[in-house]
């Protein structure tokens, strides 16, 4: 079994700190909430650190920097949502949220112990070089995404005309299904052309830093050469696969490309929990 290391994005890190009580694994899989998968993962590696003294996590500096801003943003969102118009409750809410932030910070402090702090700063030339490659990859995907729907339509039409026309009476319905299926397969790319789904600079920087950290890991541990799985836990669809309930399929073109170009396995919190649960991770140093 290959060695492994993992990293995660800021949301996974923060969600792993929002808990009041721990849930059992069956509960976690039944409810399927990202928060619980993240909490389970971090708790698991806290135990591993305690037992074996090994840190399998690596956090890039950009993720750490984002933490300070996102935590109070979440708190303010809650404050605004529930109490901004009520003077009496406003003060109580402030104190409750302040306690909550203390609790989350304490939890985070513990969680951060399972990670080695990365050394990849985005201003470093080596990381900038990687960034250019990442940026190009997304630019290509964005170009693809612009005419993708028309291309899918044409591709499906050709496919049907060539092979299946004679077997199906209801061609339109069949074409609709095939188009929807192909669209589902390409969701990761198609979303990039939507206004609010663009890949932020920061996300590309974080991916570049993670790619650099993987390289550094291999340089520092020669036995990792051709023998390391580097996981990036993230719920962002422009990194990790997107599930389509209707056809029960995953859209993976970007995830596959990231693996192919940079040898990074972008996984969702649930996928990573399954790897732990199914004992698919090599816990040797």
């Amino acid at each position: 079994m290959k060695y492994f290391r993992f990293s995660c994005d800021t949301n996974i890190l923060i969600s792993s700190a929002f808990y009041y009580r721990f849930k059992t694994l069956p509960e976690i899989f039944r409810e399927g909430v990202v928060y619980d998968f993240s909490i389970f993962t971090m708790r698991y590696f806290e135990r591993i650190l305690g037992k074996k003294g090994i840190k399998f996590g690596i956090l890039p500096p950009s993720t750490l920097k984002e933490l300070n801003l996102i935590k109070p943003k979440i708190i303010l969102k809650k404050l605004e949502e529930r109490f901004s118009n009520d003077q009496v409750k406003f003060r109580k809410a402030l104190n409750e949220l302040s306690s909550l932030l203390n609790r989350v910070n304490d939890n985070l402090k513990r969680v951060l112990k399972i990670f080695n702090k990365g050394k990849a700063y985005i201003n470093d030339n080596r990381v900038r070089k990687i960034y250019k490659k990442v940026d190009n990859m997304y630019k290509n995907f964005i170009t693809q995404s612009i005419n993708m729907k028309e291309e899918i339509k044409k591709k499906v039409e050709d496919h049907i005309n060539n092979f299946y026309a004679r077997y199906f009476q209801n061609m339109e319905a069949y074409q609709e299904i095939e188009e929807a299926k192909e669209t589902a397969l390409q969701t990761q790319i198609i979303r990039l052309s939507k206004k609010n789904k663009t890949v932020k600079e920061n996300d590309k920087e974080i991916l570049s830093e993670i790619i650099y950290e993987r390289k550094r890991c291999i340089q520092e541990n020669t036995h990792f050469r051709n023998n390391l799985n580097f996981y990036f836990i993230t719920e962002d669809t422009h990194f990790s696969r997107k599930y389509n309930k209707r056809f029960k399929i995953f859209s993976t073109p970007i995830t596959t490309k990231i693996k192919e170009l940079f040898d990074i396995d972008s996984v969702r919190a649930k996928q990573f929990t399954e790897l732990i649960f199914n004992k698919k991770l090599n816990l040797e140093r």
Binding site: Y20, K77, S84, R91, L94, S99, D203
Partner: protein, 181 residues
Amino acid sequence: MIRISESYIEIINSFLDDYIERRELGDEIYTPLNTLLNEIQDFFSEVYLDFNNSFLKKSENEDITNFLIYHSARNLKLTTIKVIDSFRLAKVRALNPKVARQLKSFIEPLIKFLIFLKLMKQESFPKIDMLSEELEKFRSIAKEKDFLCNLDEELKYDKITHKEFRNLMNSIREINLAEFH
């Protein structure tokens, strides 16, 4: 306006030295500690009023900064209350002056943190990172010296029930974190 000065540290330290030398706790320490607590509470009220008046009226970053100052001032207040309570408890139980030794190495960070917060409140430069880092340093030292309130104490001081806290934590988990990223 910064009223408190570092001379406070000297006054409190002189009492603490005396207790450590005599190996017995006295009552003199409560006067400067209560004055300090009043000063912190005044600052806390001032911070609250400012935040209450400006919330949602300025930029998001200013709201975050003001919340962090409020949050830090609240931590400072709760920690000072715990310092005073720790002295009371040690006195009632006639314990040795361990608490005096602990406070001797903590009083300076405590007062300096108050001065830091007052300065931060007056300054206009971006300070979210600095506030977060200094608060964590303060909490780490307070924890090391046994003056940091645990969750139970924190909730008790502010009359928050565990049920309310649990519901709040659960409701936060309904927020889609992707929108903040």
